[in-house]
């Protein structure tokens, strides 16, 4: 690209903008390398995938004037294709597999190393109040709008970068084993690299539009990866559903951006925050912006009413579920709210909505999770439920708590997914050996896996205890902090002062706290249920298959062990004050420059003060509930009596409603999707377009090959034209006398026009 002179100068002047920042000159200047690395990985892997699959067609594809005849020998059989012949059951190592295995996870290892280096540089730089913003080039300079491609590095984005690159690296390593025999191996890594690229753009972008690139980009990768095995209609459907539902959320995000630009004249984080600060607490504008932003979050982070795509998204490969649909992408909504904390802190009503939706989602999804049989579906609903917790946290102004839960959830949920992945891997391998087509993901076909996969079993129990909230595992600290924050803000905060639809905010907060507790109880129950049915009791896989069940290779268990360790000790990153085993509130302190001001505004500037007795009481209740849930599951559930899927009886009553996810998908289909399609087809297309508008056209012209006119209306074709033609052809008698008459009468008219004007 050649630049005009003034363009180059403009670009140079922007790059040279002086900003004295403690990170200037440190390794943080290489922040652009973070997204670039996975992008390069994507390009390399994508190229490998395409070149290995490409077979150019003939120079004249239309020769022969007929459809390619099956008997005519094609230049290549489809099964020869590398990526082309993606078949879930095909086992053929890709010929570039080793190179891909090097590039795919490799770029993330480097990126993670760089992220660590930048992290330490930030620590070394000392107190850092302002974000470190690097401008690269101007993206959309239009009038008073100027959107730069610029990366913003601060404590919040650093946390996300570490989670994304760290957990991402582990999951990609796991994938090397999990996807080893898939013919689409390079394509898989290309997509995952692309995903990481977009995710890093999402968290590093310094403006809402740039964030939106990542926001939609990760949705796109999610779409591609959910439909990775696209030859099954269900998988392709799930990918499409995810994208479209996400688009509904993106619509909200877009509208929020329009409002920001129209009212603040800026779209970068600092500009919007400055503009919003001019507005008063609870102004309609800020509330509207926040609600539209939250619509975006609800789409991306699978909250009511847009959560429906996430359970279906489990159609993708399991590591994808771990990375995208548990650890990183779905938490983008939480990140967005934390990033927009200034806006949300000014809109208590919107925050109440966030908390309420979060709490409702938490309990709603948890209840569905109670009756799922697919091991990944259990985890999916668990994810939806945990995301609800995070929104309760960030909605109530406890940004650090929400982000803390995001982090710990990334650890233990990634572990759970990868663990379930390694179980499925074992099941799949066993079924593959015997050629069986049973469901490798149904828990009724598992049972007793402890014997065959002891490492996985142990690690998954750690994660289960973490998610259930048993101290001292990671989930206990983060979940407790959220529930504590919700409880603490039910009185004496701006949320308490606001009201939603006439209901006072304090009551809503209290209600949400109770819902959160109930959801925690259910979480403990369904997680224990999953563990019991999968790993305990007798094995139900089948007699022939049983011999082929075995532990996954080290490349898969290795990342599990790391994640297990993190799940166990992750809570230590942000210890509460009553648990003084190390540095108290490290994460909260770390995030304080970014979210501190926003968080303080919720409590009118005063730090949250909770009496120690109350705090101990709340912690006690939380632990008691978690233990009770686990105990209940152990007492009530009998893995020994379970029968394999094919022999299982149908559910009845409320169990059936739960197993069918409250029929929400069916309701959406019947009330939204089908009416829209039917209206479009019946009324808009056939009615208005073909019937009404083309009906008018048919008055003018008619053609024998006009097949859009149904039935009898063909005879009506060209009515107007025919009438005019009849008159014209009668006049056209061929007799000169008639013509003379017409001529003279016409002349009379012309003269008359002059005479009588």
């Amino acid at each position: 690209m050649m630049l005009l002179p003034h363009e180059a100068m403009l670009a140079a002047s922007q790059l040279a903008a002086p900003a004295a920042h403690p990170l200037d000159g440190t390794v943080a200047g290489y922040v652009w390398l973070l997204p670039l690395l996975p992008l390069l990985g994507f390009l390399a892997n994508g190229l490998l995938s395409v070149t290995s699959a490409a077979h150019f067609g003939p120079a004249d594809p239309g020769a022969g004037h007929g459809p390619a005849h099956p008997s005519s020998p094609a230049p290549h059989a489809p099964s020869d294709h590398g990526a082309a012949g993606d078949d879930h059951h095909a086992v053929a190592r890709h010929r570039h597999a080793s190179l891909v295995s090097l590039i795919g996870p490799g770029v993330l290892v480097v990126a993670f190393g760089l992220a660590l280096a930048i992290f330490f540089a930030m620590q070394g730089a000392g107190e850092m109040k302002a974000p470190f913003i690097q401008r690269y080039f101007s993206w959309m300079p239009v009038g008073d709008l100027n959107i730069d491609v610029a990366f913003q590095l601060d404590q919040l984005s650093m946390l996300m970068v570490l989670i994304i690159t760290g957990v991402g690296m582990l999951i990609l390593l796991f994938s090397v084993g999990y996807m080893r025999d898939d013919p689409g191996y390079p394509r898989y890594f290309a997509y995952l690299n692309l995903f990481v690229f977009f995710m890093l753009v999402l968290v590093l972008g310094s403006s809402y539009p740039l964030m939106f690139i990542g926001w939609e980009g990760v949705g796109l990768c999610s779409y591609l990866l959910i439909g990775f095995w696209f030859s099954e209609k269900a998988n392709a459907d799930a990918g499409k559903k995810a994208f479209i539902v996400n688009r509904i959320g993106d619509f909200g995000f877009l509208v929020a951006m329009f409002m920001m630009f129209a009212n603040f004249g800026a779209l970068d984080f600092t500009g919007v925050a400055a503009g919003a600060s001019q507005l008063g607490l609870g102004s309609v504008l800020v509330t509207a912006i926040c609600l539209f932003l939250f619509l975006g979050c609800a789409g991306k982070s699978a909250q009511i009413p847009l959560y429906v795509w996430l359970p279906d998204a489990m159609a993708g490969p399991t590591p994808v579920s771990a990375l995208i649909h548990a650890a990183t992408m779905v938490t983008a909504g939480v990140y967005l709210i934390a990033r927009s904390n200034i806006l949300f802190s000014l809109a208590p009503v919107a925050c109440l909505v966030v908390v309420l939706i979060g709490a409702l989602t938490a309990i709603f999804a948890a209840s569905i999770g109670l009756k799922q049989w697919d091991i990944k579906k259990v985890l999916a609903y668990s994810t939806v439920s945990q995301l609800g917790y995070m929104f309760m946290g960030v909605g109530s102004g406890a940004y650090a708590a929400g982000m803390f839960h995001l982090m710990t959830h990334a650890f233990f949920k990634a572990l759970l997914f990868l663990g379930s992945g390694s179980v499925i891997y074992a099941m799949h391998a066993a079924y593959h050996h015997t050629g069986s087509h049973d469901d490798a993901q149904d828990m009724r076909n598992m049972g007793g896996m402890r014997k065959y996969m002891p490492i996985t079993w142990g690690l998954m129990w750690i994660a289960t205890l973490a998610i259930s909230g048993i101290p001292p595992f990671a989930g206990f600290f983060s979940k407790d902090e959220i529930l504590g924050a919700v409880h603490a803000r039910h009185a004496g905060s701006t949320l308490d002062g606001a009201s939603l639809l006439g209901v006072p905010g304090g009551a809503i907060m209290m209600f949400c706290y109770v819902l959160g507790l109930a959801a925690a109880f259910m979480t403990a129950v369904y997680m224990t249920r999953m563990m019991l049915y999968t790993f305990h009791g007798p094995n139900r896989t089948g007699d022939r298959e049983r011999d082929h069940l075995h532990e996954a290779p080290w490349i898969m268990t290795g990342p599990l062990v790391v994640l297990g360790a993190l799940s166990a000790v992750g809570g230590w990153f942000n210890l509460p004050s009553f648990f003084p085993a190390g540095r108290v509130g490290a994460l909260e302190h770390w995030l304080d420059p970014v979210v501190g001001d926003g968080a303080l505004r919720f409590t009118n500037g005063a730090p949250v003060e909770v009496p120690a007795s109350t705090e101990y009481l709340l912690v006690g209740i939380a632990i008691a509930i978690a233990v009770a849930g686990i105990a209940l599951a152990f007492v009530r559930l009998k893995p020994a009596t379970l029968v394999p899927k094919t022999d299982a009886p149908a559910e009845h009553g409320f169990e059936r409603v739960l197993a069918n996810k409250y029929f929400v998908d069916e309701i959406y289909d019947a009330t939204i999707v089908e009416p829209v399609v039917a209206t479009s087809r019946g009324l808009l297309w056939r009615g208005i377009d073909v019937g009404l508008i083309d009906g008018f056209t048919r008055l003018l012209i008619q053609s024998k090959d006009d097949d859009s006119a149904p039935g009898s209306s063909v005879q009506m074709g060209g009515l107007l034209t025919r009438a005019v033609g009849l008159v014209g052809s009668t006049l056209q008698s061929g007799r000169v006398g008639t013509y003379a008459w017409v001529l003279v009468v016409g002349m009379l008219f012309v003269l008359g026009a002059f005479t009588f004007r």
């Binding site: 630049l3 459809p67 008073d144 499409k240 479209i244 329009f258 012209i701």
Partner: protein, 529 residues
């Protein structure tokens, strides 16, 4: 680069050269004689000479026009590369050509797309090849002339020059119902353009010098002349509106488009979508709004047009959702995209107008690429029905990757060009018409639904039809012809700033001029009372 171009007098001869080269090329192509009736000229080799000659001419044309990118100076407010000779003095019309930033981009888009269209017809046009390529060349002159003309009469002549080759291209090389489609196309556009001629003559007479007999059709002179009375402005604007709205096409004048698209040969569809639809919106930008700002920006008129635009956006998207024919689906999606352009133009903020211009370019690239892809798969399987496919991603991986990519660009995924345009249009129009902008924004949802659904039914799902199992993938020529479009899709998505900067002064002038002139427009006494 700029110095070199100016040293060879590039900006003095380039515009007439761009108009003349295709015409000369058409003569050259026709001079080759014709093959016997009904012969497969691709197989017999008779098509080789016309198609290579035409592609060569288009290539030269494109390379020459590329020089405009560098020779153009956005800071200079006068017409770039102005060319002015006497033409028909007694009618007060001169042969005046010139470019601003908007027209520049359209000219570049035209020359690029025509080059690719010629390359894309390589094996698709198997009969009467020399006539076909000659018509394509004449069509190019007409379209470029419309973008370049600075004389209203010349504008009209070029407008008609472009109509006739398209009529024949659809009517001769089209599909089963080509006669119906071409007739419909012709009648719709003709009715509109005749009214436009009346409007142009009225403007020319109104702008003549005192005591002069001959009208004055010079664009600058008409712009400088006193504005029409409100009633006259409304009538003339109505005439222009009909001509351009049919061409755009706006709801409810759009029904010729799906038929024309479906029946036209691949290159015809590409040209129709990528360039000819833009002529309508270009007409609004160049003529209808600046010349009659009082009428165009009258609150009621503006609201009606904006409402039609938004109806078009949502309606086009919804109807696309249920099309069984992929080409028709894309055709209806054009209605939706062009609605964005109209929304952007009439919302009249710098962002929305710039966005509208971007959508014009992007739609040309993305929808052009989609039509190319449909044409390629049609050449192989001879059907465009979505239901006839399924799972072919396994058979034609390159085709599938490109189709998915182009679809994403058409949906407007950020990072591709589609997003930049739609985002700017909506961002800008939210400032003046927030409710309409929000309604229009819902189409991002429907757009994802209709395209992804179609892509899924074509590429994904089980490969359950035997005739799809041996479809050959893209060949090297097809890959070569798609690659410039793909590059542009990414480039305009990631770094649109050079394009935006070139169009910026023109867009700002447009907004400023229309606002000030609309404020100065004579007010109807009765309306004030």
């Amino acid at each position: 680069m700029r110095e070199f171009l100016l040293s060879v007098g590039f900006d003095r001869w380039i515009l007439p050269a761009l108009l003349a080269i295709p015409l000369l090329g058409a003569l050259g192509v026709m001079a080759g004689g014709r093959a016997p009736e009904g012969e497969d000229e691709v197989a017999s080799g008779a098509a080789t000479r016309p198609r290579s000659l035409a592609t060569l001419v288009f290539g030269i044309e494109f390379l020459l026009s590329l020089g405009l990118w560098w020779s153009f100076d956005p800071a200079d407010p006068s017409w770039h590369a102005r060319f002015d000779v006497a033409w028909i003095p007694s009618w007060g019309t001169r042969f005046t050509l010139g470019l601003d930033g908007i027209a520049l981009m359209m000219v570049l888009l035209t020359t690029l797309i025509m080059f690719l269209a010629s390359l894309g017809s390589w094996s698709a046009v198997r009969e009467k090849a020399s006539s076909y390529y000659a018509l394509l060349l004449v069509l190019t002159t007409g379209m470029l002339g419309v973008f370049m003309a600075l004389d209203l009469f010349l504008f009209y002549v070029m407008w008609e020059v472009m109509l006739i080759p398209m009529y024949f291209i659809i009517g001769i090389w089209g599909g089963q119902r080509r006669i119906y489609a071409s007739l419909k196309f012709f009648i719709y556009t003709m009715i509109g353009s005749l009214l436009m001629l009346v409007g142009i003559i009225y403007l020319g007479l109104a702008a003549r010098e005192p005591l002069a007999v001959a009208p004055n059709f010079s664009y600058d002179a008409i712009l400088a002349a006193p504005q029409l009375t409100p009633a006259a402005a409304l009538w003339v604007f109505g005439a222009f509106f009909l001509a351009f709205a049919v061409k755009v096409p706006m709801f409810p004048f759009h029904t010729w488009l799906p038929d024309a698209h479906v029946e036209a040969p691949t290159a015809g569809s590409v040209v129709l979508a990528a360039i000819m639809l833009k002529l309508g919106t270009f007409g609004f930008l160049r003529l209808a709004i600046p010349l009659m700002p009082g009428a165009a920006m009258h609150p009621t008129v503006r609201l009606i047009i904006l409402t039609l635009a938004v109806i078009g956006i949502v309606y086009g998207a919804l109807v696309s959702l249920v099309q069984p024919d992929f080409k028709k689906l894309v055709a209806y999606s054009s209605v939706s995209h062009l609605g964005f352009v109209m929304l952007g133009i009439f919302a009249l903020t710098v962002q929305s107008v710039q966005g509208a211009l971007m959508v014009m370019i992007n739609h040309g690239l993305s929808t052009g690429a989609l039509f190319f892809l449909i044409g390629m798969i049609y050449e192989r399987r001879h059907t465009r029905l979505i239901a006839a496919y399924g799972g072919i991603a396994r058979v034609v991986p390159m085709f599938s990757a490109i189709l998915v990519f182009v679809s994403l660009s058409s949906i407007g995924v950020p990072g591709t060009n589609g997003f930049v345009g739609e985002f700017l249009v909506l961002l800008g129009s939210y400032r003046t018409y927030p409710v309409l902008a929000v309604i229009a924004a819902t189409s991002v949802i429907i757009a994802a639904a209709y395209l992804l659904w179609a892509v899924q039914r074509i590429l994904f799902n089980p490969l359950d039809k035997a005739e799809n199992e041996h479809v050959p993938d893209l060949n090297r020529r097809e890959l070569l012809l798609l690659s410039p479009l793909l590059v542009c899709i990414v480039w305009l998505g990631v770094y649109p700033a050079p394009v935006l900067r070139r169009m910026q002064p023109a867009a700002e002038r447009f907004v400023h001029m229309v606002e000030t002139r609309a404020a100065l427009a004579p007010v109807d006494v009765e309306a004030r009372r």
